[in-house]
């Protein structure tokens, strides 16, 4: 088990490296460098820029040097000092800006994921065990609706209902807003997860080991829970891998609509104002978190499934 975890952690290194290169490339994408655009903006607003300070900044970000030197400087700053650079827009360090908002993002994502599981699991289980029953059709229909309705649409609708029917305001941090955000984010993944669980369970329910367990007298209820559900949990756990990026992406829009202080809107505004250190850093952090989430799901999988743990297949 430990070797497995160790190996998985080792595999993460190249992935993380690739992500950081891409994030840095994004920072470098706009024509010119940030200092020139910053200086232009400052000057257009009639402010004088101190050439010494400019030189200092240029030195700090190694702007005259080739790409890899700049990258080296940037990444070592992050790795060794936790220094992500400066946000030009906010005039604050990226680290402090992100730290303000990241806990909200992580919390929202984790709860949305939990919501997805809590809703999808019983429904998926029911749809599979009672295949082609009315309940199954109902769950499938609702699942497809959940899949088809865009996040922001659902968020707007829920805000409207909360406001018109219950007279509640839904903006900024309040339990209601956060609840809406979790539900909206959660439902997007729920439909897919229900389909996956249902399909897997239907597969597993026909496997010989289920018949064999039935033939030795295990009751139907105990049987389903003990054998096929256990097997169907595997792909369920690996959903973390693909639900996470979706949640992060969805969060940008939902948090924008609901005016929540997560990293999503921050990233959005950073991209709009070409605040590239901020944007690149957020992309980097979120990607790294997603990779870590995937790692956690892999470890969970190994813990659940002896075949993964014992290195079979």
């Amino acid at each position: 088990m430990l070797t497995y975890i160790g190996r998985r952690c080792l595999y993460m290194v190249p992935t993380l490296f690739a992500i950081s290169v891409v994030a840095f490339a994004i920072i470098q994408l706009p024509p010119g460098d940030f200092l020139t655009s910053w200086v232009t903006r400052m000057e257009s607003e009639g402010e004088k820029v101190d050439p010494a300070m400019l030189e200092g900044l240029r030195e700090r970000y190694a702007l005259g040097d080739p790409f890899y030197v700049q990258y080296g400087k940037w990444i070592s700053g992050i790795l060794f000092h936790g220094d992500f650079g400066e946000s030009f827009e906010f005039g604050r360090s990226v680290t402090s800006l992100v730290l303000d908002r990241l806990p909200w993002s992580i919390g929202l994502t984790v709860f949305a994921l939990i919501f997805t599981w809590v809703v999808a699991f019983p429904i998926g289980l029911y749809s599979a065990v009672r295949q082609y029953s009315i309940g199954d059709y109902l769950a499938t229909t609702i699942g497809f609706l959940g899949l088809a309705i865009p996040n922001f649409m659902l968020a707007l609708a829920m805000m409207y209902i909360a406001y018109r029917v219950f007279g509640l305001s839904t903006s900024g941090i309040s339990p209601l807003t956060i609840g809406i955000a979790i539900v909206v984010l959660g439902t997007a993944g729920t439909a897919g997860t229900i389909r996956i669980l249902r399909a897997n369970l239907l597969d597993e329910l026909k496997k010989p080991y289920v018949v064999a367990a039935r033939a030795r007298g295990v009751s139907e209820r105990a049987l389903v829970v003990k054998y096929p559900v256990r097997m169907a949990l595997n792909p369920f756990v690996s959903t973390i891998g693909w639900v996470l990026p979706g949640l992060v992406g969805g969060e940008v829009i939902v948090a924008q609509v609901l005016n929540l202080p997560t990293t999503g809107p921050l990233l959005f505004s950073a991209l709009r104002t070409q605040d590239m250190y901020l944007a690149g850093s957020i992309i980097l952090i979120i990607s790294v978190l997603t990779v870590i989430g995937t790692l956690l799901s892999d470890i969970l999988l190994a813990w659940l499934d002896p075949r993964v743990r014992l290195g079979y297949r």
């Binding site: 367990a213 039935r214 007298g217 295990v218 002896p306």
Partner: protein, 344 residues
């Protein structure tokens, strides 16, 4: 001396599958008996309904299949006989029978064990399901069962997973699970089909030894006549969901009555049968059970078929003795004479 009531008596069992394309009559009027302490082999080609017959006994027929009619009498010593066909597949009583009184061993040993749990977990589950033992006692019994099933280092193997064992070992584990509660009948549904030949022989030997040791009855489903010759006391030959012939193993091999049995025996390759001779085959294919030929189901492939008789009317069921019968017009005196008239 009258024979003792058989342990298991299936009479006129019909198990049909109601699919969208129509009804598939997988088992269509099967009657057979399993006497106490004997091994009965059910032989037939793929799709002849032998597995479905076996599964019907334990109510394990998958949707959309259903036992439509017929009786499956289960006679435990000293207890009232039970008609298993009448028990609900999910009923408490059926669950007690499954694994407790009748056990089943399947075709794919690897797939029949869940890879998520150890061998020991699944074995102990089966033991504690039917016997009032504590976890430790059950584990002890499990070790003992594995040892009896011929698994070396049984104690360690309890903690192994199915994917760490070979197919033959898995089948031994399945047999150990089947013996968990000392069943009176073991149904073996092609238990050696997925194994290689040397392993097959060992598993067959094991089953024979265990039967001699425990005195249980065995209902052995196979398409391999070599296996039949080795372990059967009685043989039931099936074709397209019906029993075409029944008899003792010697009677079937040395005095086959039904043209199908004859053809099956003829299609076994023999050593020294003459090099370069073509192996006899049964012409044509088994028709799909959903478009069963009228009359005798075998007539389109039968060399002895009589036009106007075999393709028109159901073959008569001719009984020669307690466990010897055939469904073929060729052995019916009345029909034979009328058939002669048709020919003349």
């Amino acid at each position: 001396m009258p024979r003792e009531d058989p342990l298991l008596e299936i009479s006129d069992l019909r198990t049909h599958f109601f699919t969208r394309e129509g009804t598939v009559r997988a088992v269509d009027g099967v009657s057979l008996t399993v006497p106490r302490g004997k091994t009965v082999c059910v032989v037939g080609e793929s799709g002849c309904g032998k597995s479905v017959t076996a599964r019907s006994v334990l109510g394990l027929v998958d949707e959309p299949g259903r036992i439509v009619s017929g009786e499956i009498w289960w006679r435990r010593r000293g207890q009232e006989p039970v008609n298993l066909a009448q028990l609900g597949p999910r009923s408490e009583e059926m669950r007690r029978v499954r694994g407790g009184e009748i056990s089943m061993v399947f075709q794919e040993p690897m797939a029949s064990l869940s890879p998520m749990y150890t061998i020991g977990d699944q074995l102990v589950e089966a033991i504690r399901m039917h016997l009032p033992l504590t976890q430790e006692q059950a584990r002890e019994r499990a070790t003992d069962l594995l040892r009896r099933a011929g698994i070396p280092r049984a104690e360690e193997r309890l903690d192994a997973y199915s994917f760490q064992l070979s197919g033959g070992m898995c089948q031994r584990v399945m047999i150990a699970i089947a013996l968990a509660a000392d069943p009176a009948l073991l149904i073996a549904d092609e238990p050696t089909t997925a194994l290689d030949v040397t392993t097959q022989a060992r598993i067959i030997d094991l089953l024979r030894d265990l039967q001699a040791e425990t005195g249980m009855s065995v209902l052995f489903i196979t398409h391999d006549l070599g296996v039949v010759a080795e372990i059967a006391d009685e043989v039931v030959v099936m074709y397209l969901g019906t029993v075409v012939e029944r008899g003792g193993v010697d009677e079937i091999f040395h005095d086959p009555k039904h043209p199908y049995t004859n053809a099956l025996l003829g299609s076994i390759p023999r050593m020294g049968a003459g090099a370069g001779r073509r192996l006899a085959t049964i012409r044509g294919n088994v028709p799909h059970p959903s478009d069963r030929p009228a009359g005798c189901p075998f007539h389109p492939r039968c060399d002895a078929a009589i036009g106007g008789v075999c393709d028109v009317s159901d073959p008569p069921h001719i009984v020669f003795g307690e466990a010897r019968s055939v469904r073929c017009v060729l052995h019916d005196d009345v029909h034979r004479s009328s058939a002669a008239e048709v020919r003349a």
